[in-house]
Symmetry: C2
Subunit: 229 residues, 2 copies
């Protein structure tokens, strides 16, 4: 029997990355999950990541400490308030919200690339999507393609011609409700997942931030009830 | 008088990055330096970075903690021995040495990109060079170009069309002796710089690792004596 291929899967504790992990497992990869302790407000996502990783049967789960608070610039890692309720009428739809963490996906993918190189993995999975992407520039298909191109020039395994790095974003073109349907089909237990940008100290979702509202809308459109709400 | 442009400069404490900082200062940038505490063996480089930054007049110096030891895979961050003396005859010249840290420049540039975005800086300086580059894939011109392309798709400032990110590698096509001559011309005090991959606990260079030997050869060819040896 041929050896199973190895993948690194970025895990945030949210339903998108949980569904991404389930998709990678379904494809037959031995999955090594990676999460970041980057000084985020929503620290509860780390506990969720660990649980999701274990329940879905990943080979291992690693948490990398990285002090992004010292970089600043985002409502998720600094004292800027997390925006609640609907956007102001004056705010253009193309505006990038204050919850954007500068270069976050680039940093996370870079560290995943290092991990992939150490493991000899050619596939890196990330749960970004470009439909309900909240206006983050690093969730677009052209960004993912550019990172993949760079990754293949950056690393020992690709330069030595052993294998080509692939950045896999299976949710890229799905809406939130389609992601929820896909996750349900893959039997992801959404009660383990955590989406809120600004939960209570006990980890309860606020129900009002962009991420909570997008999640509620997605479940409603999918016709599925959210076990975490 | 127009405002001075702002740059982020990656600083390792070695002579290459010190010369890069001096070059950026000479070009008139307000320089914000960035170093990493990534579990490296050669911890003394952090003290050197702080001093270089201060003496050369950078606007500020930031050290980001990042646990690359948990990723592993390099002699610089794990228990693999740092290679000493000449390479074995059996080792091909194209081999990538064990001191290569997986995806290190990609990780460092990604965090510099986040810092640049927060500061509103368009220029990121890195002291890589492709001549005496020890076979690291992430020191080649095509890699730097690919990172720059990706960076311009990744970030808010570039997507909003405000400015284009530039990855500046002023030493890219210089040999070690040319870098030393350039540094001397820019009045860099090389006694502050630190190159050894495996110094003594007191910070004395071993004189035998790749980096020490490359430095010694560079000073010899430049006809300059090394004040740090």
């Amino acid at each position: 029997m041929p050896e199973k291929p190895v993948a690194v899967v970025l895990l945030s504790g949210g339903l998108d990355s949980a569904t991404t992990l389930a998709a990678a497992q379904k494809e037959g990869f031995v999955c090594h999950t990676l999460s970041f302790d980057y000084g985020q407000r929503h620290y509860h996502e780390l506990a969720a990541s660990e649980k999701i990783s274990r329940v879905l049967g990943a080979a291992d789960h690693q948490v990398v400490r990285l002090d992004l608070r010292s970089i600043g610039g985002s409502a998720l890692t600094s004292d800027i308030d997390v925006p609640k309720e609907k956007k102001e009428e004056t705010e253009a739809a193309t505006d990038i919200p204050s919850t954007y963490v500068p270069a976050r996906n680039t940093i996370f993918l870079s560290i995943a690339l290092a991990r992939a190189e150490v493991l000899g993995a050619a596939d890196i999975f990330i749960g970004v999507n470009a439909v309900d992407y909240s206006g983050y520039p690093d969730c677009r298909p052209e960004y993912i393609r550019a990172f993949e191109h760079m990754a293949n020039l950056a690393t020992k395994i690709s330069v030595q011609g052993k294998q080509r790095i692939r950045i896999r974003a299976p949710l890229l073109h799905l809406s939130k409700s389609e992601i929820i349907k896909k996750g349900a089909y893959l039997k992801v237990d959404f009660s383990m997942t955590h989406s809120c940008y600004d939960p209570s100290p006990e980890g309860r979702p606020c129900g009002r931030c962009d991420s909570c509202r997008l999640r509620a809308k997605g479940f409603k459109e999918a016709g599925i009830s959210d076990p975490a709400s």
